[in-house]
Amino acid sequence: MYYDSQIAQVLHDEHLRIIDLMNRLEGLTTGRKARNAPAGDDAATTILLADLNAELQGVAGHHFNFEEDNIFPALTAIGDVAIPYMLRQEHDLLRNLSEVMLPMVQKARGDGFTADEWAAFRDLALELVERQITHIQKEEMGLLPVLSEVFEEQQDSELALLFAEA
């Protein structure tokens, strides 16, 4: 176990998965090769767009909703208001970014990117990567390590189960 708390460990594992996706997205959208849109038959890009599509459609949303419904209220109840408030604001921002990017990703999965679409996608993708990474950094430092102090063992197990079931 990486964390003393089961729910912290579950959320941390989720973070690892999202970071991996963000690293791949950053790899696609930076550097010399990112000046031009990737070829429509590029296998790595096809897999990446499929994973990104799933993420934007709701996988991250599940993570955000879970934290907002079950984790943040517990912190707020002990007087720690600012950090949950700030994380919630960031969730809203990431949701908005996802809503803007999702149709672009879905269109690109069918038709590929035109030069203009690629330029717009690349800028948004880089913003998504940066905002996701810094958001995860904040949660890894300011949220997950304290969960073992906030929740009793029984409650912690129930939350881990709830996250898996939802």
Binding site: Y85, I133, Q137, E140, M141
Partner: protein
């Protein structure tokens, strides 16, 4: 949720302080950084032969230690400790008083040192004692809470102990300068320096590394057992080193350095393992500075051991001091260049509902690159100027340091300006 963020920041359960609290400490540190290099520049010809005593070199040393190191450590710990202990610092007036006393005390003490004016120095020492006593009161009250991050809290306790010791010794040294009651003032001064650098600053730097480095690199936190093992060795080494210095037993001091080196090796091993497991491949220029500072950490201890065994040429002790400073300054500035935009972006997210600036948007890469080159050039030129010795090289090194400090201050000001622009209400 219709909350005004400023209405809850700073309350008892709140772990996030209002932004101006840590930023006023960081801003003052940036200005003292400039002042330290400027004062060293004015006394560049005295550095190679420096063996203690009043004047610009001693003033520059204390502008750096109190003005930059302690100022940054206080600002960072006031924000970071609540994250570890789940207990906020609900004492805005006390923190305000600490900041004013620390600034006034540092200016007074270093002016007294520069001008060799004992009463001014003594007044500065008194103000600093008050600032540190208030800080310790806050720190200990917070650490008593314990918390999830055992390694950080344990390092905090020991750093607080070292701070008490270095304050006491510092005050004794000030009184001794006028009344001369110590049999060997230089051993007292070396003990004061060891407690300050390896004790208070070193332990805080190690403790916060275990949180900040994994966070920025997106890597697992190092094992608590490993961190506590490194801390135990560092403390045992420091205790041996202090005993050897105080009781004139050079072999004890050297043994202390060796035990400390084991602790440093463990600590650096944990940092290397952490970075190897990182998910974030691009670490940015801050980590170049951090790696340089990590390289200087064991080198300073090796120089210290050689000094204790009388194996160093006459320039050795000054190089020991320079590399010791190089380690702490490089580490703190590397951390600052990451946490200043990071904290600003957190507060922007609290204040701005629609698209607050990203960390990248709040980071000015040009000034940071200029600072990195100047910082490295300063270390190389100062080392060469001390070894040969050539006052011109020392002068050029101090000039490079001053230019680097100006670039760093520019980076800080730009981050503040960009943050203020982002959170300013839109014009109608």
């Amino acid at each position: 949720m219709a909350l005004a963020p400023s209405s809850f920041l700073g309350s008892a359960g709140e772990r996030l302080l209002p932004l101006f609290v840590p930023f006023r400490f960081f801003g003052a540190a940036a200005l003292f950084h400039l002042a330290a290099w400027a004062v060293l520049l004015s006394g560049a010809d005295e550095l190679a032969a420096f063996r203690g005593g009043g004047g610009p070199v001693l003033a520059a040393v204390h502008l750096m230690t109190l003005g930059v190191f302690v100022m940054t450590a206080m600002g960072a710990s006031l924000q970071l400790l609540p994250v570890a202990t789940l207990q906020g610092f609900a004492a805005p007036a006390t923190i305000n008083a600490i900041w004013w006393l620390l600034n006034a005390g540092t200016i007074c003490l270093t002016a007294g040192m520069y001008l060799s004016q004992h009463p001014v120095m003594a007044a500065g020492g008194g103000l600093l004692a008050l600032a540190i006593a208030l800080y310790l009161w806050l720190l200990l009250a917070n650490l008593r809470r314990g918390g999830a991050m055992l390694a950080v809290v344990a390092h905090g306790w020991l750093a607080a102990g070292a701070l008490v010791g270095l304050l006491g010794l510092g005050l004794i040294l000030i009184v001794n300068q006028e009344h001369g009651f110590l049999a060997n003032a230089q051993r007292g001064a070396v003990s004061h320096m060891l407690l300050a650098a390896y004790g208070f600053m070193g332990l805080l730097a190690m403790g916060f590394s275990y949180v900040l480095v994994p966070m920025f690199a997106l890597a697992p936190m190092p094992s608590v057992k490993g961190a506590l093992g490194a801390m135990f060795c560092a403390c045992a080494g420091l205790a041996l080193g202090l005993a050897g210095t105080w009781f004139n037993q050079d072999i004890w001091a050297a043994a202390g350095g060796a035990v400390g080196l084991i602790g440093v090796t463990l600590y650096l091993g944990l940092m290397v393992m952490t970075l190897r497991q990182r998910m974030r491949k691009k670490l940015g220029p801050a980590f170049i500075l951090m790696r340089l500072s990590w390289a200087l950490m064991p080198l300073s201890l090796l120089m210290g051991i050689a000094w204790a065994l009388d194996l160093l040429p006459p320039w050795g002790p000054v190089i020991f001091g320079l590399w010791l400073f190089g380690w702490l300054l490089g580490f703190l500035l590397a951390i600052l260049q990451r946490i200043v935009p990071f904290l600003a972006s957190m507060h922007a997210a609290l204040a701005v509902r629609r698209r607050p600036p990203t960390v990248t948007a709040l980071t000015a890469p040009g000034p940071l690159a200029a600072h990195l080159y100047c910082h490295c050039a300063a270390l190389v030129l100062l080392s060469a100027g001390i070894v040969w010795p050539m006052p011109l090289l020392v002068y050029l090194g101090a000039l490079a340091g001053l230019l680097g400090a100006a670039a760093f201050t520019w980076f800080f000001l730009l981050a503040v300006l960009k943050y203020r622009t982002a959170v300013a209400p839109p014009s109608a």
